[in-house]
Symmetry: C3
Subunit: 467 residues, 3 copies
């Protein structure tokens, strides 16, 4: 029984809305992909080597896939997690595990994306299952040897116009420089400044701050040098095309410290004597500082707080971070961001994009904030919420208060390179479906819906992320 990708998938089921949605989708289906936030490694495109095997490409490094298999009792070892490119036997074993548990993905976006990848990219015509696993594996493996399946060729085939990576402030950005210098490479691959670890005193912080100082060639052993080093690295990123800085902390508190207090905690934290509360206070102060720098240097500020990282310590110790057990927490933006927005909420050119994994803040906090402050944009639903029903809930929650223009446009936020087209296509279908429902309920005229559908994949991400 072949898998199928119906042309009307995800569009509204009732006939009048589906007809409108088809027309809207037709207008956006083939527009280039703008990916202003994600986790693809730029060296993939610099090196342009063939992908090693189907499992390390499609399974092992994608915690969206491995986490549910783990819940079904498949050990992460068997899936090749944390092992890089896999030897053939191991890759095949991981692939078989995924196929054997294909039914576990029913109703999840992983199934939806993976199906699209298998069919549209790799020409697979069978449904994954224990019995078909090896045939599908062999088919994909054969294609990976074909130059048309190298990273750059796929990148072009996917129609990606801009791809943002996520990078450490101490990174020299050599990969981005190499791409920019390569006359054969014309797409934009831009870095994103992700300074979390440099802003959170605690284990490893002194080493990180020293590394930052080396990268900037500035002495970071005092607070002023530390601040100047951060400013310097942001300039370095901007010089390499960065348009945004990305921040993910346990909360988005932004209480200022006096200069003296900040300097004092900086010292204490370097010496390992700062209390946990001082560390938190310093981090909140620094998030405010990041906003100040964004007002100065123009980097868009994106926030996605309130996740308990590495929830299962034993798995973290064995496999490292990003292995599928970051678990969301309640989020709060209204009071936490008040000091920041008091200062910079109406600052010319300042952009602050708010993402959440706690859906309750969409109507309660994010939409009201984005519906008043010129700086605030409602970020697309991401991670656990990057899925059909969640995306529909997002539009229904945010639009009535903040409209469409105050939303960021879609971000794929992915390290699964081959899933990028399917994710953007999913988002386009769902937005067209939502707009079609507004039209059939006579809340919007179709020409307006058409304009909005196109804006959401062009104007909105360009404006919000300053692409």
């Amino acid at each position: 029984m072949p898998s199928s990708l119906h042309p009307d998938r995800l569009l509204p089921v009732d006939a009048p809305a589906r007809a409108v949605a088809r027309r809207l989708y037709e207008a956006v289906r083939d527009l280039p992909i703008l990916s202003p936030h994600g986790h693809v490694d730029p060296r993939l495109l610099v090196d342009d080597r063939p992908f090693n095997d189907p499992a390390s490409l499609l399974i092992s490094a994608d915690h969206y896939v491995t986490r549910l298999l783990h819940a079904c009792g498949v050990p992460l070892d068997e899936l090749g997690v944390g092992q890089g490119p896999l030897p053939e036997q191991q890759a095949r074993r991981a692939w078989r595990a995924m196929c054997a548990h294909w039914s576990a993905f029913r109703g999840t976006p992983v199934r939806y994306w993976m199906e699209a990848e298998l069919v549209e990219i790799f020409g697979v015509t069978e449904r994954p299952a224990a019995a078909t696993a090896d045939r599908i594996y062999d088919g994909i493996a054969a294609r990976l040897a074909d130059p048309a399946y190298r990273p750059r060729a796929l990148f072009r085939r996917f129609g990606i116009e801009v791809l943002a990576t996520t990078d450490d402030p101490a990174d020299d950005l050599a990969a981005h420089r190499a791409l920019a210098a390569d006359p054969e490479w014309t797409a934009r691959v831009v870095p994103t400044f992700r300074p979390d670890r440099y802003l959170e005193p605690g284990a490893g912080w002194a080493a990180a701050v020293a590394r930052l100082g080396e990268a900037a060639d500035i002495d970071t052993s005092d607070y002023d040098g530390y601040i100047r080093a951060l400013e310097d690295r942001r300039r370095h990123f901007i010089a390499h095309g960065a348009t945004s800085a990305d921040h993910s902390h346990p909360d988005v508190g932004t209480e200022p410290l006096t200069h003296g207090e900040a300097a004092r905690i900086h010292q204490a934290a370097l010496q390992g004597t700062a209390s946990e509360a001082e560390g938190v206070a310093f981090r909140r102060h620094m998030l405010l500082e990041m906003a100040r720098m964004s007002c100065d240097d123009g980097l868009v500020m994106t926030l996605h707080p309130s996740v308990r990282r590495n929830h299962h310590a034993p798995t973290h110790h064995r496999y490292g971070p990003d292995t599928g057990h970051d678990i969301p927490l309640r989020a709060e933006f209204t009071d936490a961001l008040r000091p920041l927005l008091h200062r910079y909420g109406t600052a010319e050119g300042f952009h602050l994009i708010l993402f959440t994994l706690d859906e309750t803040v969409f109507t309660r906090e994010i939409a009201p904030l984005a519906g008043f402050y010129p700086s605030v944009y409602a970020g697309a639903p991401w991670w656990f919420l990057d899925a059909p029903d969640a995306i529909r809930r997002f539009r229904r929650a945010v639009t009535e208060t903040a409209g469409f223009s105050r939303t960021s446009g879609f971000v794929d936020d992915t390290r699964a390179f081959c899933s990028i087209p399917a994710r953007h296509d999913m988002s386009r279908r769902l937005d067209c479906g939502y707009l079609a429902e507004l039209v059939t309920e006579h809340r919007l005229d179709e020409d307006e819906a058409m304009e909005t559908a196109v804006d959401l994949v062009t104007t909105n991400p360009r404006r919000a992320f300053k692409l």
Copy 2:
């Protein structure tokens, strides 16, 4: 391209449900409007002067409109916020700004209401846009000069039977008295007792308490006098037709203080020496006192807590309150109201209507409370939630636990006079749509749905608000 108001707008899209919804809506469409909570100034109706201009009527005083324009970069100055009736040039400039940003309102209820107002009240046939702004302005301005567009004429045309205003306890209610004494005025315009500022010690509290004392002609410099003055002003309001008292605090805590402790904090607060914690304790005690008074004098108690008022201090300082940046907070009712409901939850004749901007409490707290306590009603979704999808979520969240009879009926809560009919019509369409879905899913018979649809715009608000 003319705007249009389709007769089936907001009704369910699928044919069988739409057919039922049409029949239900037909039965309620033209019923009189009961508006038991809102912010129209009663002097508007006493004076009955022509409205000054389109912008100050439809834009400047309505923070639902100005907030989103502000988010789009239009300064509040340009919109005439806080400036009262506008000179022609300035009014036209505000109007043009709104029309030029018309697309920002796509998918919001402001667009939906405004379109209805433009078409149905003012006969506008063009879609707002930069190119049409002046023609639309001129058309409306011309009509405003017509006696048929004076406040009283519009009030009658809107079919309003009862309109509740929101008033300061020290208000002499002269406007209400004037209307009641006017033989040509037959509709009910009733005041609502809104004592928030008199219950929250802090800046300006001593002056407010003194003002209260003057209004009541009672010495409020001791706690007992203060209590008696509040009771006196409530009687004054009741004598002028009030049926409810409205309360909006940061939370709905209702912990009692001893008489001695309350008196002590009252003194300290008058002298400006009460701590913030004492102020909060006093306010929570006083909310409980308000419930006690409601049990005595019969005023319905409405609560709508958990908003951070005036979130952007610079805007507040420049333009005052109600300028579009009150941002919701998480709400909690279960434990906060327990002391109050312990005492008065089953008291004969006591009515407590719970409103929220935090949708999470609809299923979790409000519906369970309204589904047990005879005094508790689930208030209609208001403010940011007074919108099609949010209203649908409300019914789906509350009905399964509390049914229909425990809900308050619609409140428009608006200071935008011309939006009243569109808002009530929107609510009627949505409730009919929800009921029609219950019928087509065979969860309700159509005769029951019909009775319920009528109840929701007649019996429910009359009962909950004691109209």
Copy 3:
């Protein structure tokens, strides 16, 4: 006007989805009922006496019914709450009150279930109303005298294969033993270990701990004996067929204490000198201990926290617990369960099923946890959330992150014996409707949906609850 039970009730309204849903439902409609969590008294089946009267069977003991009537102003006395089998006159009065307020149940699942019970079990053909109350009462009363309406006959007619009861750890389980020993009784009626009161120091705790010791014949006056007694009673339950232990505390905190600290608080609590904070710490420690025991003895652990029990103290004092005013609170699982999951989250054979009344945790916490930990299952929506729209929200919230296989299957959680078939049927219809929507949106093939629909009422509850 007769009530009606349309064959397509609750299925999707639009034609293509309804057609798919009908086929799915056809496949599961008549499958046996597995009821792994509920509150039916097992002595009902041991004694097999005729039910006394319609009101005590269908109204008085079911707080889903009485709570909304109480909200409508009917005193609980009039409904026979807490009075056991009612004399005819009183039963008739309670019945009349329910019929007279039938409209209050519109849109609630009580109406939906009750209608099914009246029509399908008792052959009632009239809609409840003041005018029909006595005729309906007489019809049901007549049938209750018929042997076909005795508990065992109904149990068989309902097609129940497994029924779990909820039992006190000190219960000798004589009723379960009697059923197991009865050669004429072939269905499984298994106990559930519900130790809440033995884990929460406070009023009555010392007596409870002593009772536990007597039941286990172990001295519980020291901590080690107390632990051994709990282990012993769990073995007793397992020997009588129990497969799960059920826990409901104000929160699911699971912070460990040292043995010495636990023993110290145990002593203090027995002597009544433990502080409230110590009591909470002890309870959280003991929940962790329960998980440890579950790893040892295999009892599935079910959690349903965050309800303020007996919210209205006066009603509690007069009528006792479970009288309709348990009101939900905000829930938090991510951090609260971290210590437990750190230790036992990947333990072989450990099952932890998470239920909630706070829907916000479905996407934010429960689905992410169930989508990673092999031990964690997302429990079905229960209590206030056991209703059509809430069940739909549950599937839409959980499936995209955790799929279907990580959900528990339906639990009816009811003490209303006659509502069991209607509740399970409702759940089957809704799950088939959700699956049909996935099929018509081309997110799932119909053969997969069919397999899943069957799994959800067979494999899923058997696996999650180890039936």
